[in-house]
Symmetry: C2
Subunit: 167 residues, 2 copies
Amino acid sequence: MKKIRILVLGLLAASGWGAVASEKTPEASHGIEYPSGWQNWSTIAVSHRTDNNTLRVILGNEIAVKAARSGKVNPWPEGSILGKVVWKDTELENWKTAIAPGDFVHAEFMFKDSNKYSKTYGWGWARWVGLEQEPFKNGAQVCTSCHTPVKERDWVFTDPAPFPALN
Amino acid sequence: MKKIRILVLGLLAASGWGAVASEKTPEASHGIEYPSGWQNWSTIAVSHRTDNNTLRVILGNEIAVKAARSGKVNPWPEGSILGKVVWKDTELENWKTAIAPGDFVHAEFMFKDSNKYSKTYGWGWARWVGLEQEPFKNGAQVCTSCHTPVKERDWVFTDPAPFPALN
């Protein structure tokens, strides 16, 4: 069975199928590779920005979610990745007083690696824009300048939402 | 290795450790068993109810998330479980115009099984209240009466949020 799998993968690679698949992965942003699979990460918090009318869900990889749920987030552990997914506001058709996600804006990420990203406060900063996930390339300073008010909170705005314990 | 694992599990069961663990699972709500592990499910949408000042994330099990991401949600497929997690509003300390999750209110769920739940429109309705996850037992009609405006949408208010394709 294992041999068959290797053979199939080999044939796919030889046919260029693998190359096509990898070409679909969005390009790097600020030299940081796309965190494939973030769409299925677990929730850390949500927010509604009333100044620019956007709704957000804050997701994390397993390291980040574990830290968030146990409240150990200043500093966040090495290897944490935080993702903020942003939509424009709209109202729910059947419940007019509920604000709900409209157009997708972007997904932005913080990658904790104190050595690798020592020049940007221990985090790598990246963003992919629109449903096509075009990499943002205007520089991490766009991110860090906005996050400066929370530099004493390991540069993170989000307070993890309270969740019942797993059981 | 397998034998060791069986031995360890046997010892744990004999010692009552397993029983203690299972006692921690919240009781059923409306006869529906607690959907353990929902805290790590993926996101379908978020919302902010401005009439009662609550923020929500709408999560789903794998069947529901797959349906949501592909837009096949009227009807939702058999086996779908939708979870709505509710927090009271608060404002983010370092970004005053951002509404963020405060106290946890409850987690409520819809379980799609057209046969089992034929008397309640094809869905099982359940809720667990507070961080202690006390089962709600006031009857599914509390849920269905509120959801009646969306009976033509398979009884679901939520429009799945747009997400970039997985890649």
